[in-house]
């Protein structure tokens, strides 16, 4: 019998320490500390330009900070100097973009299968079987031969989620994945993400869907001006926080557009 390890004593899957990053003269991240544990869903909220996307891009090594430490899945990302090592890490981290960024020349099935086949070198039949399972999971069975241009935004985004999952990532980063969608299709995408998180997917989500963040997150962090100014369980951030900036942001956003919880999307 092995002694069960208390969850909090395991090293976090993602660990950022004192991360500083500037684009030229503009300081974008001014000392970010962040932990994401396996199986956890962490949401990042905050005003536009506060560095949310930049944090995600640091986690998967698309950009490198000038200072600070980034550990992801046992790799010290800030010490990697070769692009090949960064690529090796990126294979283990999924990324879902605001604008989906599907490959327009490939069918839905090919979009999902191409990376496992060409990058991981897995056998095509096995990959395609997995791809069909994933399509089923994102509720798009029957669309494998469609091209991205023939799908609605919500459908494209669900394909993009399946494409990320096809690499069997240890972590998936979602960057405002519903911001470019028509209101009617937001719900179906959130419903898919909610299911994935329920099934234990480790994820970091940048989102403006406050009610959704509150519902699915284990931890919520609030960024402003390149810093994390508040973090904690959703209840503490959304209801009992004593930070006037956070409250102003949440209520300001809540008044502008009510968050779409996605329940209507589930009952398609």
């Amino acid at each position: 019998m092995t002694t069960p390890v208390p969850p909090d004593s395991r090293p976090p899957l993602v660990r950022l320490r004192d991360v500083h990053l500037s684009f030229g003269a503009t300081e974008v991240l001014k000392g970010v500390d962040l932990d994401v544990r396996s199986g956890e869903a962490l949401s990042i909220i905050g005003p536009s330009g506060s560095g949310k996307s930049t944090i995600l891009r640091c986690i998967n090594g698309l950009i490198a900070p000038q200072r600070g430490e980034i550990h992801v899945a046992g790799t010290a990302l800030h010490q990697l100097t070769r692009e090949a090592d960064r690529l090796a890490l990126r294979k283990r981290i999924g990324f879902v973009f605001q604008q989906f960024n599907l490959f327009p020349h490939l069918s839905v099935l090919e979009n999902i299968a191409i990376a496992p086949v060409r990058i991981l070198g897995h056998p095509r039949d096995e990959v395609e079987r997995h791809a069909r399972d994933l399509l089923d999971r994102v509720r798009l069975s029957g669309k494998e031969r469609a091209y991205p241009g023939e799908l609605s935004g919500g459908q494209q985004q669900r394909v993009a989620i399946a494409r990320a999952l096809a690499m069997r990532p240890e972590l998936v980063l979602f960057d405002e994945v519903t911001s470019a969608l028509d209101p009617e299709t937001v719900g179906e995408v959130l419903a898919v993400i909610r299911d994935l998180i329920r099934d234990g997917l480790t994820s970091v989500l940048v989102t403006h869907e406050m009610r959704f963040a509150e519902e699915i997150s284990d931890v919520v962090v609030f960024t402003e001006g390149g810093r994390i100014v508040a973090q904690g369980p959703p209840d503490a951030i959304f209801h009992t926080n004593d930070n006037p900036r956070v409250t102003a942001f949440i209520t300001g956003l809540g008044n502008r557009e009510p968050a779409n919880t996605g329940t209507e999307g589930r009952a398609r």
């Binding site: 998967n60 990126r90 973009f97 604008q99 960024n101 490959f103 993009a160």
Partner: protein, 239 residues
């Protein structure tokens, strides 16, 4: 095309003797035209391959890869075809010693090189423009799946470029097909050269007119479908 055929039929009916002479020269002319096709197909094939490599090199992050490609393209993109054909014909050896053996290097092959050089420079620019027209988001999303730069090019970027470059590529093909007639000036036995031979041998003004008309019609028949197809594709892919 129907009009051309009708005029030809009418003319043959009015001038049966001339038609008979012309028909006698057809095999010789056809042999010449086969040379035009060979030269243009070889030139566009070699030009495309080298142009593709140069176009990708032009966008390489490393300066030492980028600089030579950019220089080559600058020099040869606007070099006149005729000058290059003369240069390759008279500056290149008639045989090449390779690994101890000698390989013949006939004039028609030199014409191919002369046409392929500016073609490769043009195609490099077409490829470079097409790669740059693909949104950077495609690079990012491929990168996030673990695609390296070269693999992104191979599997994501270049396949999307293919469609966009097809009309420009076919335009170039048509212009090379017409340019292949320049090879006659350095003595390659292609169609124009064959027509000149025929006209010198027969020495009749009406035959000379007929034989050069045949040359025109042949080139038209080769190039017109290409340019029509190009227009169709341009309309189809217009964004």
């Amino acid at each position: 095309m129907a009009a051309v055929a009708a005029v030809a039929a009418l003319w043959a009916a009015l001038q049966p003797d001339l038609a008979v002479i012309l028909i006698g020269w057809v095999p010789y002319l056809a042999q010449g035209f086969a040379m035009n096709i060979l030269i243009s197909v070889a030139a566009i094939a070699i030009g495309s391959l080298i142009g593709l490599i140069l176009g990708v090199m032009e966008l390489a992050p490393a300066r030492w890869i980028r600089a030579p490609a950019i220089t080559y393209v600058h020099i040869f993109r606007n070099a006149p075809h005729l000058v290059l054909i003369f240069a390759t014909t008279y500056a290149m050896p008639f045989e090449i010693t390779l690994l101890g053996g000698t390989v013949a290097f006939p004039d028609w092959l030199k014409a191919v090189v002369g046409l392929a050089i500016p073609a490769s420079a043009h195609i490099a620019e077409i490829v470079r423009g097409a790669i740059q027209s693909i949104p950077t988001a495609q690079w990012e999303s491929a990168g996030s799946l673990g695609f390296s730069r070269l693999r992104t090019l191979r599997w994501i970027i270049l396949p999307q470029c293919l469609r966009r470059t097809l009309p420009a590529w076919m335009n170039l093909y048509a212009s090379i097909a017409m340019g292949s007639a320049l090879a006659s000036l350095v003595g390659v036995g292609e169609l124009l050269h064959a027509a000149t031979d025929a006209s010198t041998a027969v020495r009749r003004t009406d035959f000379t007119i007929a034989v050069y008309l045949t040359v025109l019609v042949s080139f038209f028949a080769y190039c017109y479908p290409i340019s029509r197809l190009t227009q169709r594709l341009e309309r189809r892919f217009a964004v």
